[in-house]
Symmetry: C2
Amino acid sequence: MPITAYEPRPLAKDTLRVIPVGGLGEIGRNMTVFEINGKLLIVDCGVLFPEEHQPGVDLILPDFSIVRDRLDDVLGIVLTHGHEDHIGAVPYLLRLKRDIPLIGSGLTLALIEAKLKEHRIKPYTLTVAEGQTEQFGPFELEFVAVNHSIPDALAVAIKTVAGNVLHTGDFKMDQLPLDNRLTDLRAFARLGEEGIDLFLVDSTNADVPGFTALERSIGPVLDDVIRRAPRRVVVASFSSHVHRVQQVLDAAHNNGRRVALLGRSMVRNMQIAAELGYLKVPENVLIDFKKAGDIPDNKIVYMSTGSQGEPMAVLSRMANGEHQVEIGENDTVILASSLIPGNENAVYRIINGLMKLGANVVHKGNAKVHVSGHAAAGELLYCYNILKPKNVLPVHGEQRHLVANAKLAQQTGVPEENTIIAEDGTVIDLKDGVASVVGQYDLGFVYVDGSSVGEITDADLKDRRILGEEGFISIIVVIEAQTGRVVVGPEIHAKGFAEDESVFDDVKPKIVAALAEASKNGMHDQHAMQQVVRRTVGRWVNTSYRRRPMIVPLVIEA
Amino acid sequence: MPITAYEPRPLAKDTLRVIPVGGLGEIGRNMTVFEINGKLLIVDCGVLFPEEHQPGVDLILPDFSIVRDRLDDVLGIVLTHGHEDHIGAVPYLLRLKRDIPLIGSGLTLALIEAKLKEHRIKPYTLTVAEGQTEQFGPFELEFVAVNHSIPDALAVAIKTVAGNVLHTGDFKMDQLPLDNRLTDLRAFARLGEEGIDLFLVDSTNADVPGFTALERSIGPVLDDVIRRAPRRVVVASFSSHVHRVQQVLDAAHNNGRRVALLGRSMVRNMQIAAELGYLKVPENVLIDFKKAGDIPDNKIVYMSTGSQGEPMAVLSRMANGEHQVEIGENDTVILASSLIPGNENAVYRIINGLMKLGANVVHKGNAKVHVSGHAAAGELLYCYNILKPKNVLPVHGEQRHLVANAKLAQQTGVPEENTIIAEDGTVIDLKDGVASVVGQYDLGFVYVDGSSVGEITDADLKDRRILGEEGFISIIVVIEAQTGRVVVGPEIHAKGFAEDESVFDDVKPKIVAALAEASKNGMHDQHAMQQVVRRTVGRWVNTSYRRRPMIVPLVIEA
């Protein structure tokens, strides 16, 4: 469904404008822009991972068009936590202006700084912690601890002359978190009493009834599986899930096993987490991968990446027998991770591959080895009741999540007209406790492919889909300009079309005849001649094969 | 993992050979070949639907190579039920020999006959029913009623001088089925007492603990949703799920609504089911789609196809606003269907699209509107205990399902060495109660694309994947044979590569120089010259864009 774009009215003085730029209608590329009295604040700047209809794309960025010409007015980028869908697009924004300050917790900034180093950018940063208050021009920011599947996540309250906003970032409300750092409902209560005019709230699990299980509940399962494992154990998880890795280290330690970290991002992130004290490494547990082979099979745990079936990651290579760690009979592999929609087939292929090699595979389908990082419906209800926001803007979710979240808000008493189902680019103005939709920008997908940023269009992706499904047939003909007589060719080649190229002998005389006919009728234009070739070959292939490969004609006049 | 193929030993007299040709290591293209004393029997002949790494493929057939030269020895094809993954490849096998008899229940044969009519094949058929016994040469067949997500499914016992086999086909054990036609455990018990030497058993849900819920339990949910629906209701389901449609008709009828069937296969299958008495249509409930617009919105139910997100099916077109039934505020859409792995993103896109149009969407994620058609672990245990088979061959499943099923058999007392985890092409000989693996054929995937059958190779699919992810760059150069001097071109065109074609101005002089250099060094061979172009462009694009499009060079000597 194409959206209907319309220009927002001019922003009035002392009115707060909120524009979700990414993360609405999708899980990823979260980014929200706040503006008041000429100054801008950005919260999060993440990437989205492509789906199957966006082939070959590496990453999708938020559309920066609405801030591109106003970068001098941006006072800072608040990063709520260190996940890719919240920080991954920062390097691309900083390429446009390097000195926009980044504001976030210690771990969050350490992770983005490591990423920026690869882009050769050294950012300006301000490290903040829960409870801290900072003034940025017209924005007073207060940071609130929230619990999530990465440590040190923050919600941010944004107080302005036009009203107060609370943005949760990603969060859940584990009541016995591993690091004892709870989502700070006391702060939520206080902010609610002060009055929250607009509440931007994580919708990811709004359609999941009940409560997310405790992260802590995974520990005993890991411990049990590792204790009973007769041989090597491989655990795969997200490389930023410090608490999950913590529990693997602890379970290994309890069972007298050493742990070798595998995968570049796993090694890097855990080094950062350990240095900053977020990961407590038991003494004498970690061992370098190079030395892990010397340890007896029943004394080692490999902690690896690739839990989503990524083809180049460690786990996939193990399943294909292409990794140094050769999985065999009685090895145990634990996928301590979610199964992101779209990745199912890839993950199942890995599970099947590992099982064919003889491994025992433990995953969330057959054991309690994963809990989500997002608040389920029950937790969101607590939130709404403690905060009692005037207006609610569900963020971070597809339409189905946003709608489910709005319904939860309504059930706690937020009037339906005060719950806003928005899209990327929706413009919301806040003033005197009233939030109104005043415009809609038509924001696009910005595709990163290799070193190209934004060059790839939806038309190119359509070409790729046709090429990927049907292949192409290219026809090269050199003709005599005057007569249309073919002097070289037709040379016909095909890729992904699959038939023996001798089948094209059939169509070559048809092309020659069609070109002669066109020329006789006075046609000389190269483009028109190419259309003649395209139609001739297209008709032939459709009749003969009932297929529609891309037809790429080239008529050259000699 | 490539399989290790080895020729089976010659088949001894009075020994039964069993070869699963399809359906092991995959969900689909089920087919098993039985042979004894020179005669063959085939059970099922279905298709597999492609995954994302098989782009553009319409269907995947079993590899018929092991029966292709022996079709005169095939006494018949037993079809256990009418699902595509069990009957869909029959037209392709009958193309090789039209007069092989098809053996199945009334509904199963009616469905395959309708399909064969499209292929202009009129088959020889033998209609059988539960309890019936038929002798085909050395095979005595006994048919046993089983309950599944399509009516009239049969298991088949195959009795030979070498021993007795029971093949379940697809089944579950709903104890209160809608048509009161139970999986016949009395027959299982009797066959078990007679002695089953080899048990081929559906593995689809072997890794699902417990029991599949009753199909009947969906009725009240449908009734409730339809009763409370303020406006139109659309229900999407599989077009062969007669009992699901039955429950929709009944619920509509109870609530004073008419039902219009939508989608070619839905209309055709329900017509067949009604004619044969499997679908009991309440009087005055069905209405032609053309007249449905005249009915008030709160008096109509549309029963449609497209529950798996198929882009051309009714539901997808509704979600995109491209269907005559324009979904709007307060319409209710029920997806009374499973969510097959790989289809998640497509289905969620439809759900999001429908919700954006204002519909209330009910699906298995938020209501009990679907139950599986396959026996879960608890049911399989009943089966093993009643049958007490000597040997077990789990079929119909990926490795993870086959392994889970074998473990269930072992838990009921089948010795581990008597449970066979096989692959497509594994050759199993049965004699004197002993089942032995005696060979492994290397069977391939046979791809159907348009009207091509078997022409598309895995290499073509690899080309398609590269084209689909990266696009291509084609370079045409006409050179003077003697000097290598470029007389026309380089003409460079790209599709799916995305950059403005003017970027190629950069690389053209490099190509001209490289060709001149090659020619100076005595190179004249066309293939070698093309390699020069490929390398020159490949290096340039990789350095400039960090991408790897397909490079398609053509050097023509004038």
